[in-house]
């Protein structure tokens, strides 16, 4: 096991050329999440469309963030994966990613679901970095729950 298993080409690409970066309008909820152990932080906005009855769709996600390559790349990959999806589908991806990050490098992720996010399997071997990879996802989850349930969780 070498560090190359963590710093996959895909991750470095997203890090150097992040997608959906920069805060955008419109949005319903903005959250700020912090990784207290290292000072990484993200401010993230979500814009949802729909209603509780019809179901919700993730219309847009944008963010401003500071942090290491893993947390930056993860935000970029996350935004790619959830934007345009129905909430249920996006949540399923979130949950798959969570499972992947808890796998200690043992998972065989489904590329059809996780797409570029499969590159993070190497990160899951490094407990101290798992939090970096999860930061943006947690922020998204928090913001989306607030936006669709109408109240902070």
């Amino acid at each position: 096991m070498t560090v190359d298993s963590m710093y996959q080409e895909i991750i470095l690409d997203h890090y150097k050329h992040p997608h959906h970066r920069g805060l955008r309008e419109p949005y319903e909820v903005e959250v700020r999440h912090l990784n207290p152990t290292c000072g990484d932080e993200i401010t993230l906005r979500v814009h949802v469309e729909g209603s509780a009855e019809e179901g919700w769709r993730v219309a847009d996600v944008s963010y401003a963030s500071e942090g290491c390559s893993i947390s930056q790349a993860s935000a970029s990959v996350m935004a790619d994966l959830v934007i345009g999806k129905d909430i249920d589908a996006a949540t399923a991806v979130y949950e798959d990613f969570l499972t992947l990050m808890q796998s200690k490098g043992q998972a065989e992720p489904d590329e059809d679901v996780l797409e570029d996010a499969i590159a993070f399997v190497g990160v899951s071997r490094y407990p101290a970095r798992v939090k970096c990879a999860l930061l943006a996802w947690m922020a998204w989850r928090d913001a989306t729950t607030q936006a669709t349930e109408g109240s902070p969780t």
């Binding site: 912090l34 207290p36 101290a128």
Partner: protein, 407 residues
Amino acid sequence: MTYDVARIRKDFPILDREVRPGVPLVYLDNAATSQKPHAVLDAMRDYYEQSNANVHRGIHTLAEEATALYEGARDKVARFINAPDPREVIFTKNSSEALNLLAHTLPFGPGDEIVVTEMEHHSNLVPWQLACARTGATLRWVGLTDEGRLNLADLDRVITARTKVVAFVHQSNLLGTVNPVDVVAAKARSVGAYVVLDASQSVPHMGIDVQALDVDAVAFTGHKMCGPTGIGVLWGRFDLLDELPPFLGGGEMIDEVTMAGSTWAQLPHKYEAGTPPIAEAVGLGAAVDYLTELGMPAIRAHEHDLTVYALERLQDVEGLRIIGPTTADDRGGAISFALAGIHPHDVGQLLDEVGVAVRVGHHCARPACLRYGVPATTRASVHLYSSRTDIDALVEGLTHVRAFFSS
């Protein structure tokens, strides 16, 4: 597999020692502290020689190893007491700190009452006395029967709608008494009080199941359960610990810090300010493995047998009066006694002469000593590696003591 004491004793290097040339150690001071098996000492040494680093926030190899070992120890302790969630296990420096933490953070104030018992160790009495002085709450207590048991008739009188916390000992270090946790906890629950259990003497000798006990918080201490000094455990229900305020402030227990103010980390870190007892946690984890391998039911059965034997033999010693239950029912293997006309100091000193290590004094349970009219007692206490030979040496030693002072 039978419980093979001779084989078990080989795991404890100190049991081979002579206190003086030709005088082998007979260690019967286990209620004060236990001895440590090789496995525990090796685990700590390996930690220091291979993986020593500060835990959390490190991303280098040693820091990751140290963190995994430290958190792995927490998982082991959680499993050992059947905690539903390892985040409910807080590492403290000893039982006393765990109990002080609760006395500082549980909510109560003027007009409220805290209930303890007359058989508490000072560590589960003084923190509540101090808390009452700080907050204006009032301390009340359940008395004892002449037989050395809780006076359960007191419960309805003492535990009332004003009671906010009932804190009591599971197994008394002075009397050996094992208290009926269910009865006391049910009464406490009926008035909505928090239930705190001092399990310092029960975890090492019979184990506990925090879910079966149905209490809110439990304190115990590493050094009495074959683990190292410098570490104790607070277990508390997740929801409770989660809502209580922090106690000690410092590194690790924070979420976000600015000069103007701070927010707190999630459990368990909220209650672990500063560098924790890392090697000690590793040692405690190894101790828990050791105890689990022998099996707490087997340990308990062995100690029960020894207690039956010891009570029987001691009561044959002329002039010896047991302070505490005289039968082994609902009782552990810490046996306090008085020897007519001979002060415990002199008993202990002369027993040491023949290698028998017992404790003398009030055993940090002075109110109970006063209750039984003895300023001090002599206490012999067994552990998983104790044997009938140890009890025989004690009884023989007591004959020597009596002879010395009657001459």
